[in-house]
């Protein structure tokens, strides 16, 4: 018996050696950039901590961080950058090589997830304040200035124009739009851009108030706006149809995002497909958020994330946010020069033009109430806020037509 066992000692040792080599942790020591994987796992832990402990956009940051963790575990082979190299899917080697996250990433690569999220966002958005006060569209447009200023800033820092466009869109403060545009223009930057976009969206209450106070006087912050007119059901139903048609005809490249946004909104407003409306607001939205977060996190591999370009993207992202907020406030001040006394706009609602629904509108309300607790700006700020969603999707469509 003993001789039978010892005669195969070489086989046993060889098998054990193969097993140990196949274990993931050895990759930390054998791979040339093993330390980078360890660093990325540290970044994933930090993001998980921020999402769980400090509730920084937890729905997305949590899943992004976990995707980042999975993709940087050596040997897991769940995501392969080489399958998407050169900006297109290598279908020939896909079936043989692809891991779970590669399959899920197809939803990002083909632009499916951001659009599905926009259906849910549309179903959760009330366009009533925007319909009641269409001038809010101007504030939503002015807040997009940050996108184009950052586009130039990124080019000055040495990014290629397509990369600069993707970085600039962070200023739109709209996660799905940023992911949609980046997946088309500069997929290699998807990880850093998504992390920057969602981190800064979570930091809106920190970034915006100092800018709002610096650019407005106490007298301006005290302006009480006229009550919005009631919006009829017919207007609410016609709005998404008309906007979808106009935008699709003028800017076909923005049609997927705006079309899906308006589809969701029409589901909510028409009142005859409540089941669909509830599904896209809850189940569909939640499922897509999981897939989107995991796969976007998976693109943050050590090689793509740990470099000076990521630092540049993070710095440019905060500049984009600040400039967008400032653009909205300054245009509101400019509009006040031409408005009658009873139609004056509180400039604090201008900063809500940078999407980030409804966080940016809440910030306008909070800063306004610091000066006058009886001043309710929330509904007024929701106008520019949802106009910002439309504005950033339009800006993304324009950048896509120029750079795509």
């Amino acid at each position: 018996m003993w001789t039978l066992l010892t005669s195969n000692a070489e086989f046993v040792l060889g098998s054990l050696e193969t097993f140990v080599e196949s274990m993931g942790f050895t990759g930390f020591f054998t791979a040339p950039d093993g330390w980078k994987s360890v660093a990325m796992i540290g970044v994933a832990f930090l993001l998980l901590y921020l999402a769980i402990k400090h509730k920084f956009e937890p729905l997305l940051l949590f899943t992004i961080a976990f995707g980042m963790l999975l993709t940087n575990l050596p040997g897991a082979d769940m995501y392969h950058t080489e399958l998407f190299a050169g900006g297109h899917v290598h279908w020939d080697s896909f079936v043989g090589t692809a891991g779970l996250l590669d399959y899920l990433y197809l939803g990002v690569k083909l632009g499916i997830y951001p659009c599905l999220i926009f259906v849910g966002v549309g179903a959760m958005t009330d366009f009533g304040p925007l319909i009641a006060n269409p001038k809010s569209f101007l504030l939503g447009a002015a807040a997009q200035i940050g996108i184009f200023a950052t586009f130039l800033g990124a080019f000055a820092l040495g990014f290629a124009p397509n990369e600069a466009g993707s970085i600039g869109i962070i200023g739109g403060a709209d996660g799905p739009t940023a992911i949609y545009l980046t997946s088309k223009l500069a997929p290699e930057l998807l990880g850093p851009i998504a992390v920057a976009a969602y981190s800064y969206m979570a930091l809106v209450p920190v970034i915006q108030p100092p800018i709002m106070r610096a650019l407005t006087s106490k007298k301006e912050r005290l302006i009480r706006m006229r009550t919005l007119r009631p919006v009829s059901k017919q207007e609410r139903i016609l709005f998404p149809i008309v906007i979808a048609v106009i935008i699709a005809l003028l800017l076909p490249s923005a049609a997927p995002l705006i079309g899906c946004l308006m589809l969701g909104n029409l589901m909510k407003e028409c009142g005859v497909v409540d089941r669909l409306s509830k599904t896209v607001q809850n189940e569909l939205m939640n499922i897509v958020v999981i897939f989107l977060g995991l796969t976007v996190g998976a693109t943050a591999t050590a090689d793509a994330f740990l470099n000076f370009r990521t630092l540049g993207i993070l710095a440019l992202g905060v500049v984009a946010f600040a400039m967008g907020s400032a653009g909205g406030i300054l245009l509101a001040k400019l509009m006040n020069l031409f408005c009658k006394e009873e139609n004056k706009i509180n400039p604090l609602i201008g900063s809500a033009g940078v999407s980030a629904v409804p966080m940016a509108a809440r910030v306008s309300q909070t800063v306004g109430q610091e000066e006058d607790p009886g001043n309710f700006l929330l509904m007024h700020a929701m106008g520019p806020n949802v106009a910002g969603v439309v504005g950033s999707a339009v800006a993304a469509g324009i950048l896509l037509s120029f750079l795509g």
Binding site: L152, L238, I246, L403
Partner: protein
């Protein structure tokens, strides 16, 4: 092969400035067009509403809940909720009970709830 990166690499500052300028102008143009459309909407619908409400006001009957718009009902309910919630003091939510002494009471004693059977040997 001409790739996106190759095409983009050839861009100069002048082209970048033009793209940024044209893009921001396009954003404003599209959104100003939407303002025009929404203003037209507002004009048509407010004109329509202005003709109809005279009948409800003329009858001078109180408005029932069914006649209110869902937003108005939501606003009233929210205001009432905020008002009634504000009537109460905010609790500190800190527990100050450190221990509970359970004094003996025959009323909840289990032994008195059981049938006492004779001890057979």
């Amino acid at each position: 092969m001409i790739t996106l990166a190759n095409v983009n690499a050839a861009w100069t500052w002048s082209e970048m400035l033009w793209v940024a300028l044209i893009s921001i102008c396009l954003v404003f143009t599209v959104l100003v067009l939407l303002i025009g459309v929404m203003k037209l909407f507002g004009f048509l619908f407010t004109a329509k509403q202005a003709k109809t409400p005279a009948t409800t006001l003329a009858t001078n009957t109180p408005i029932t809940q069914g006649q209110l718009h869902e937003d108005e009902v939501a606003a009233i309910i929210t205001a009432l909720r905020l008002y009634t919630s504000a009537l109460h003091d905010r609790e500190s939510e800190i527990l100050t009970i450190h221990n509970i002494k359970r004094a003996y009471s025959p009323w909840n004693s289990k032994i008195h709830g059981l049938t006492q059977m004779p001890n057979r040997k």
